[in-house]
């Protein structure tokens, strides 16, 4: 589909119509910060947000999700798959890249039906960043803009005060955009403005400056296993897992059973977990395979920069900067750590 131009008012009218017909999740204000949530009206949608507290991955891998329902005495399990279509409004490009990476993880080897069912039910509207967050460094990771990414359904870019450029890439996206009344084809000037937004974002989404190419990370890490930075930084780590939990590319989970009051039926659920938590690698009997803070701390950076890369070829940090802001101890900045490793080994 070609690029079209739509006034904000028309966009709002469409959103107000859409929320009547479909489940829509969009970015809204939450306690002076932003979060994705069920959208009830266009007026609540904040496309000018800087960053959401949690990434939109929660719609594909929810914080807590029922995997199956069981009967304890019959020993029977019945799968639970969330099969409801929804529209996700306002995903930033870096977060979209993270979703794409998770897609790869959850479809390789044993494909995960729970994730994939939610994923296939989603129509994703990516929106270019309007306000850079305090710690974003997507531009360093090549995720500042979605122009060269694949897989998104719709891309929304604010090209003037109350005017958006909208482009659909998939059938789902085309159908969705087709419902917007009052769009017109984009002219060369509009496209130029859109490119300007991208250029600007590739420039400004760089609150921290990574002094290397992301592609160099696997090699850099391969030689940094014994670097002092791990011990140094980890000394201040609370093992609180915040850096894991806010990360759009983290996907570790735990599984637990919950019984109902009949003490017979219940649910098997999965919950987010984090490799920074103390007991993450502990086995029955108490042996902990990653018992030291530094070992856990290092593992997170290796997962971002090497282990996932070894698996899928992706650098699993998209530069959203959430871990930097979320870490109370102020030690979770990947850019700072990677730059430190550079200094020492170059």
């Amino acid at each position: 589909m070609t690029v079209r131009v739509v006034p904000r008012a028309a966009l709002d009218a469409w959103v107000n119509d859409l929320v009547q017909r479909q489940k829509v999740y969009g970015v809204q204000l939450k306690e002076e910060r932003f979060a994705f949530g069920p959208l009830v009206r266009a007026a609540d949608l904040r496309l000018d947000y800087d960053v959401t507290l949690l990434p939109p991955k929660k719609y594909f891998l929810p914080q807590r999700e029922v995997l199956s329902r069981f009967d304890r005495f019959k020993v029977e399990f019945e799968p639970v798959l969330a099969d409801e279509p929804f529209v996700l409004l306002g995903v930033h490009p870096y977060d979209f890249e993270a979703i794409r990476q998770l897609d790869a993880i959850f479809s390789r080897n044993h494909p995960d039906a729970h994730y994939l069912t939610r994923r296939r039910n989603a129509t994703i509207v990516v929106s270019d960043v309007e306000t850079p967050s305090q710690d974003v460094f997507a531009a360093c990771m090549g995720t500042a803009t979605a122009d060269c990414m694949d897989g998104w359904d719709v891309l929304l870019t604010r090209i003037a005060d109350a005017t958006y450029a909208v482009e659909a890439r998939t059938e789902k996206g085309t159908a969705l955009v087709g419902q917007i009344q009052g769009t017109k084809g984009a002219g060369e000037a509009d496209l130029e403005q859109r490119r300007a937004v991208w250029d600007r974002n590739r420039d400004v989404l760089k609150k921290h400056q990574l002094r290397m190419n992301p592609e160099d990370l696997p090699d850099l890490l391969a030689r940094s296993y014994d670097h002092p930075v791990w011990e140094e930084k980890a000394a201040l780590c609370y093992s609180c897992g915040s850096c894991n939990l806010v990360c759009p590319t983290c996907y570790c989970f735990d599984v637990a059973d919950e019984l109902h009051w009949d003490l017979q039926t219940g649910e098997r659920t999965r919950h987010w977990d984090g490799c920074m938590l103390e007991k993450f690698a502990e086995v029955a009997g108490g042996h902990n395979f990653r018992g030291g803070k530094a070992a856990r701390y290092r593992h997170r950076y290796y997962r971002k920069g090497k282990w996932i890369h070894d698996l899928t070829g992706d650098i699993a940090c998209v530069g959203c900067g959430r871990c930097i802001s979320a870490c109370t101890a102020k030690i979770a900045n990947p850019v700072e750590v990677f730059n430190r490793l550079m200094e020492a080994t170059s």
Partner: protein, 246 residues
Amino acid sequence: MRKPRIGIFDFACCEGCQLQIVNLEEEILDLLGVVTPVEWREAMSDQAEKGESFDIALVEGSITREEDAERLREIRARAKFLIALGACATIGGVNKLKNNFGMNDVKETVYGEAADMPHLETMPTKALHEVVQVDYMVHGCPIEAAELAHVVRTLLAGKTPTLPAYPVCVECKLKENACRFEFGEICLGPITRAGCGARCPSEGSWCFGCRGLVDDPNTQAAREVMAHYGKTIDDLRGKMLLFNSK
């Protein structure tokens, strides 16, 4: 199958934890479907026979007098599982604030001239496990009704429930809250054991540590973090005293 017998007991506390059992609302009927309450002074006139045993004793409150310690030992002897209910029972909670002062001082402050009377004798506050063996702790001030329900159901299914080892920040992140530190407040979340679903941060307040500290709180981090946010370690200590006095 015989329904497990349950007894509910209280010591020095606000009885808010027992209230959470009532606050199960309709679910209390479910609870009564799977256990037989044999003693619950706050809600029932029936009392178990002296020395009668029960499967689960839920005990709230702190121990502040020798006579209470004695009664607790007696309850322990009669109970297969003894579950400590709420901060007063699990860590001493606000009752331990008292331990920061001399016992005579607290008595005189409250009772003035009458402070010498023998029945006012008080000893430094103790959590239950400092007096008897406790099989399981349901933390919180007050406890979360849902957590208690979970613990009871888990036990009845023949499984020992496990306490979260991670700090409140985990649940705070899952709830998608903005961090209180960003608002210039001191939050005990990073060093406090989770399980409450980050109640207080989710309600716009700092965590005051009612579930006790995690096993290995990073005190060095706490120091530097306070400095980073322009606070002192004394500010932090002041907060910690509320529920985690020694």
